[in-house]
Symmetry: C2
């Protein structure tokens, strides 16, 4: 009985609000086209009968499949073998002077980013629809994630990248055996060509902004946070925003838990963008639609000048009583060692942008010291050691004599005392 | 009651065989010095009363601390917050034509390598001994692991590296806030200076070849493999060998499970070294002591020309009925995409050396197709994307027209048919 997913009742368009039945649409709203990203609706009465605060742990699943009764996947038979989700939530008492801060380390997923949650659900859907090939446009975490999961599933995988994509990122896609098309054009050209090819060749579309099921995978990070905190939801959740899919998923996850009566409220969601690429933040502040912006930030995984899922994201953030904010690249780079030294969690720039946002909010007096805060850390620092090198500091040169070490320790100690 | 570690009864020297009481020695055998690495002995009668095949799962711990009653740590109170262990064991049916192959993905540890198991036990020992500083000589996974765990524990951390250590590796140590001493000399000079400084300043020694408790952490990978296979141990376990500590730990883990009556035998342990640095393999074949060798291999994490834990390793491998073998760097590099494409697990060169060994053994007819095989994958491919780039292949250039994609797909398809 529990080895069965949620019953999908239909979809609603995030733009025009029109509803569709479960079998009426495949990806986006026919009226709104690419702007009409859908939200998945379930039979929540049935879901409420099936899940309790204890039922997740009772599955014995230490992956996101413990939430199968809340996911759009018919049965665990189509789940990929790679173990995604159920990442650690670390308490970091005293961090930034706060009493109750938690860091959700989603770099602990199979390909080292939160994207694996979306991919896990995506490939499970593809398998249940008996589609043997999956595709996406991506130079980063989403592409790697899809390539890795497709390999584990024995599915063919096609990834479209602009021909200027950096070789190390392309190599990671190729290592997993994906066919990588290097498109003679920009990222937007690669995206458009990918959508056309997906349509033409019947591949499964792993793009969060097009395929509504992928955000369902991302929402599991919210379900885990809630369960790991004993269903006492935090006051605020800080997360990094690029396309808006993670914010959309997190908002939906917390909303559904409240709707099911498992929690009593939704936390305020604070979306953080890099100052050099902040179209979603601008739209939040102006109240108007997103305007495409330039993308100039070291946080490459959220450098999305033309975000596609901003409507769902802003709707979720506004409904939660949260807000959008920006941080500079300097603040992002500084946040890498600051978080690593306090918690042992090493993030990539986009992964720690959330934490940089929290640090800034604390400095600006916008966080009370007794608030309960969760920071989502979405990707591994090993994906971008170059950025880490910019703020890591320098080693201490010594000769081969123990006396040298002793002298340097005295210097360090004195410097520490001067600073402290 | 279960929140209590094993009772240590003493130590035995791996070289001279002399036994010591639990409080008689700290690190190595006083008679044999650095060559006299100790093995930890426990009250196995008490342990047998405390553990059953079910007791591990009953702890509800999804980390290596589910094996606390078999570990030299007094209580879970001193355990570090980072979640180490309980990594996935993936079945890879049909891989290399074998019916029953499993891949243990130990890149899923906090700092992305198996070393975190040893570090977790090491820092827990340091905490219980109220030592506030830990130290090691390392340019690689062990150093990163120690730096990460020390950060999470709020301990000071000192790492000694040769001044020629590559900047990206040093940066990872610095990101976690370790004090990194860049020693004007070779790795051996850095090692010697580290040992002297540890002695002088009373830091806790995180070196597997000196501190016998660290191998106890590494043995947990064997405990997990056994439990994840329902206590039906595999026929053979393939693992990469550098210093010999992982082989020692794996052998001890399986031996203890048999001794406790939880399994009925120890699998054959097949240790794999890189041809360009294979002193342990040479000693296995000659039957004499290890002779220091040059280290010339792309598998940097096992490029140990002067291994220190070879006695324990060879004793364990021989007792298991296993053997040592070598693979070339070309075989190692080829193994990276081969494993990634079959399983979705992306390893660093040293991490897949074990798998390269299995592939070679299969080619040489040394593995029956119905044998049950486990391959230990010990470190993430993200730690060394340069090596992955050497064998990943090339992207497919296309223009912006769907016709280009179609034409290339036909070419790929034809080429695939020619090959297949």
């Amino acid at each position: 009985m529990q080895d069965r997913g949620a019953t999908i009742t239909g979809f609603v368009c995030a733009k025009c609000g029109r509803s569709y039945g479960a079998d009426q649409v495949r990806y986006v709203c026919p009226d709104c086209g690419g702007e009409g990203i859908l939200d998945v609706l379930y039979d929540y009465e049935e879901m409420a009968r099936r899940v309790t605060r204890r039922s997740f742990a009772d599955t014995g699943e230490f992956s996101l499949w413990r939430y199968l009764p809340m996911l759009p996947v018919a049965s665990s038979a189509s789940a990929p073998p790679l173990r995604a989700g159920w990442t650690p939530l670390y308490r970091a008492e005293g961090l930034l002077g706060l009493k109750s801060v938690f860091v959700k380390d989603d770099s602990r997923n199979p390909t080292a980013s939160l994207k694996d949650r979306a991919t896990a659900v995506g490939v499970a859907r593809a398998a249940s629809e008996q589609v043997g090939a999956v595709a996406a446009a991506s130079t980063g975490n989403a592409g790697c994630s899809l390539a890795g999961f497709a390999a584990a599933m024995g599915m063919r995988c096609y990834i479209f990248v602009p021909k200027s994509a950096p070789r190390p990122k392309v190599a990671q896609l190729l290592v997993f055996g994906a066919t990588v098309f290097a498109v003679d054009g920009s990222y937007d050209d690669a995206f458009d060509l990918a959508m056309e090819a997906i349509e033409r060749f019947g591949w499964y579309n792993r793009c969060c902004a097009v395929n509504p099921f992928l955000v369902e995978g991302k929402k599991t990070v919210a379900l885990e946070v809630a369960e790991q905190m004993g269903f006492e939801v935090p006051d605020k959740v800080f997360l990094s925003v690029g396309d808006g899919c993670i914010a959309s998923g997190v908002a939906k996850g917390f909303r559904e838990l409240e709707q099911l009566g498992l929690t009593d409220r939704v936390p305020r969601i604070i979306g953080v963008q890099a100052e050099g690429c902040s179209p979603v933040c601008s739209a939040f502040e102006s109240g108007s639609d997103v305007e495409p912006a330039t993308a100039c930030t070291c946080a490459d995984s959220i450098a999305v000048g033309h975000p596609r899922n901003w409507r769902k994201a802003l709707k979720g953030i506004r409904a939660s009583g949260g807000k959008m904010m920006t941080v500079t690249d300097e603040e992002i780079i500084a946040a890498i060692p600051e978080l690593a030294r306090a918690t042992g969690v090493f993030g990539e720039p986009a992964g720690v942008t959330s934490f940089a946002g929290l640090a800034k909010a604390v400095r600006q007096g916008e966080v009370e010291s007794d608030e309960t805060i969760v920071v989502l850390m979405t990707g591994s620092g090993l994906k971008d050691t170059e950025s880490a090198m910019r703020s890591a500091g320098q080693p201490v040169p010594v000769g081969r004599e123990i006396g040298d070490v002793e002298a340097k320790l005295r210097e360090l100690d004195a410097a520490g005392r001067r600073r402290g």
